[in-house]
Amino acid sequence: MTPWEALALLLLLFTGVLVVTLRNAIHAALALIGNFLILAGIYVALEARFLGFIQIIVYAGAIVVLFLFVIMLLYAAQGEVGFDPLVRSRPLAALLALGVALVLLSGLWGVNLAFTKDLQGGLPQALGPLLYGDWLFVLLAVGFLLMAATVVAVALVQPTRPLDALSPEERKEEKEVVR
């Protein structure tokens, strides 16, 4: 393992810890951005260059920004809000997380794979035939999913307009019908 790799992994983990521990939401989001950037670098090192770029553009550039927008919209910058009824759950949570880690690690135990596949750098030229070949259906399905998500997102945040749009007489009729 080259020193760069070691450094990258350390930073990865460090930013990850920051994300889950920082109190201020905005700080945590920024730590997440850092995490994503390092991750993109790691992707490039792993011969997944296209993916690395997508990571930066979509994940760090769109998704976390969306997060930040919502944080600011809701004034939800504070991490710890209100009274915590489950104070004693923290050690248990740590234990469970540790348990998950152990189980997954044990799954990796004894895995002997040769990481020597020729991925042609993970460039679009290499990924394209796959995407529009075997994985076409999946691609189209994900596209459809994105469209559905857009509709949902818009629908969710509509204010309760319909009733407000009625004039007072029409609103009374509506209420009588409902009764």
Partner: protein, 606 residues
């Protein structure tokens, strides 16, 4: 036509059951008695014309068949004849009772069922009658059902009978399995040759005898008879003295073709008969209820009948049935007259000195007691002596039986005198309003019964005097070789039994008039009063453990139900416990979620 004898009293049962309440006294009684008399006349008429048969399709392989031959005709005469007299007596005895018509309905039903039993030509038909008389007995013992004790006595009788009935059914089953038929005539022919399966047949014989043990109150199923005195006195007279209890003897006689081939079973029958005779006689000494003394006497006399049947002398047993019907019914009805005279008193310790007050009943009592005791020339003497002789001459008999029977004869004479002395002689121990004699409707049956008690014995006199009964019954019974004693020996024995009877009677007469009794007698009397603790032993060994078992099962059943309800409660508690996991907090759910994932992964991994 033969069916008419059964249908007439059955008609009486139906009419009185449905319309009896609307009839005024004494119409139910008169109607019932008339129907029984009609039955008697029809039966005698058919018998004189040579017998009758009746057969109709019934169950597959088992026709409903009735047969009137000499044997069943003989029994029919006893049942309807003595039955008629007791019906007439009951017209007077039950006067004023609110259940008057119900009583006669049940009484007629009993006669119908008893006739079914007697006239049956196949065992299932006999069993119908057998169960029917058991039912009638239950209904009549518990006639005054509002008294819990009387109801319990009725139930006790029915249950003990049932034990015997099981034996009857099993015996029938074995016969069916062996011969494929349950018709008595057919079985009689089938058993003519060599026996098919002797040990199994012996079992069948024993089982049928078990039925007789239950019905005729032999040891060990005799405990119901003394308690059956809870019923009205006519019931005790008819059912528990003259007719129903002799059904067992009739069964043995009817099945004589079977028992004549089974020496061991017959020996057992004779032994049980003797034990019962002894038990009944000994227990009669300590009883203080006027009817219970007579009840134990019945048990004892039934033992005599089974002794005779056991040694092979079936006609002798039936002879004793005949004479016993007269003098026992007389004793019961005389007791009834005494009870009626004293306004309901039944304790002999509160009786006495009635000789002066009851001019006619006193003779009834005396004749009955003397006949029972075996005073020479009365009926009881002849039939008892026939039994004594039979134990020495018939194939399954023996000297032991003779001596035992002789001893019991002495005891019988003694307790018969005790009965008479305590009731009629001595000073008046009770405080009664002036005792009045019974009305004519109750006296005339007793007159006729007394006459019967004196003369009935002359039906079968010992050799060389005329014996009408034995040849009359012979064709219907099994052929049993009986060797004959020499004339001198026979009459010598007769003289001996006569002397013994006189001795017993005199002993009883003098001993029981004493003021004070020796201590050994008092101890004996105390034991006798408890009938030697038979009831207590049965309660401890059988009744109470079964009751405890029943209670335990009942409790178990209830707790099983409660367990099922409790199951619901347990599930509810469990549910409530689990529901506490749903706190509503998202993070708790998330924790549980991750925990679940961990468990799954762990299981998959290993």
């Amino acid at each position: 036509m033969l069916l008419l004898t059964i249908l007439l009293p059955l008609l009486g049962f139906a009419l009185l059951g449905l319309f009896g309440k609307r009839m005024r006294e004494p119409l139910p009684g008169v109607l019932a008695s008339a129907l029984v008399l009609a039955s008697f006349l029809v039966g005698v008429g058919l018998l004189l014309s040579g017998g009758a048969r009746y057969e109709v399709e019934w169950l597959p392989g088992i026709p409903f068949s009735l047969l009137l031959d000499n044997l069943s005709g003989f029994m029919l005469i006893v049942v309807t004849g003595v039955g008629f007299l007791i019906h007439v007596y009951a017209i007077g005895y039950m006067a004023g009772d609110p259940g008057y018509s119900r009583f006669f309905a049940y009484f007629n039903f009993f006669i119908a069922m008893m006739l079914t039993l007697v006239l049956a030509d196949s065992y299932p038909v006999m069993f119908i009658g057998w169960e029917g008389v058991g039912l009638a007995s239950f209904l009549l013992i518990g006639f005054w059902y509002k008294n819990a004790q009387y109801a319990d006595s009725a139930r006790k009788a029915f249950i003990v009978n049932r034990i015997g009935d099981l034996g009857f059914m099993l015996g029938m089953a074995i016969l069916w399995a062996l011969y494929g038929t349950l018709s008595i005539s057919e079985l009689r022919e089938a058993l003519e040759g060599p026996l098919k399966n002797p040990s199994l047949l012996a079992l069948a014989g024993l089982l049928l005898f078990l039925g007789a043990v239950g019905k005729s109150a032999q040891v060990p199923l005799m405990v119901w008879l003394p308690d059956a005195m809870a019923g009205p006195t006519p019931v005790s007279a008819l059912i528990h003295a003259a007719t129903m209890v002799t059904a067992g003897v009739y069964l043995i006689a009817r099945s004589s073709f079977l028992y004549a081939n089974l020496p061991d079973v017959s020996y057992t029958i004779a032994v049980i008969g003797l034990i019962t005779a002894l038990y009944g006689a000994l227990s009669a000494f300590g009883q203080n209820d006027i009817k219970r003394i007579v009840a134990y006497s019945t048990i004892s006399q039934l033992g005599y009948m089974f002794l005779a049947a056991g040694v092979g002398a079936y006609w002798v047993a039936l002879f004793h049935v005949f004479t016993h019907a007269f003098f026992k019914a007389l004793l019961f009805l005389a007791s009834g007259s005494v009870i009626h005279a004293l306004g309901g008193e039944q304790d002999v310790r509160k009786m006495g000195g009635l000789w002066k007050h009851l001019p006619l009943t006193r003779w009834h009592g005396l004749i009955g007691a003397l006949a029972l005791g075996g005073l020479p020339l009365l009926s009881g003497f002849w039939s008892k002596d026939a039994i004594l002789t039979a134990t020495l001459t018939y194939p399954f008999g023996g000297l032991g039986f003779y001596l035992g029977a002789l001893f019991v004869a002495v005891l019988t004479a003694m307790y018969a005198m005790r009965w008479f002395v305590l009731v009629f002689l001595g000073e008046e121990r009770g405080h009664h309003h002036h005792p009045h004699e019974a009305p004519p409707v109750m006296l005339w049956p007793n007159h006729l019964l007394a006459l019967g008690s004196v003369l009935a014995g002359y039906l079968a006199l010992p050799y060389p005097l005329p014996n009408l009964l034995e040849p009359f019954l012979k064709p219907t019974l099994a052929e049993v070789e009986a060797h004959h004693l020499s004339l001198g020996a026979e009459w010598g024995l007769i003289a001996l039994s006569g002397a013994v009877a006189l001795l017993g009677l005199w002993l009883g007469y003098t001993f029981f008039q004493r003021k004070a009794f020796p201590s050994w007698y008092l101890t004996f009397e105390a034991w006798s009063r408890e009938s030697f603790f038979a009831d207590r032993v049965y309660n401890a060994l059988i009744v109470n453990p079964l009751k405890a078992l029943a209670e335990a099962l009942f409790y178990g059943d209830g707790s099983l139900l409660r367990g099922y309800f409790g199951l619901g409660g347990t599930v509810r508690t469990l549910g409530q416990g689990i529901a506490r996991l749903q706190t509503g907090y998202l993070r708790v759910y998330a924790l549980l979620f991750v925990l679940g994932v961990l468990v799954l992964l762990g299981v998959m991994r290993w």
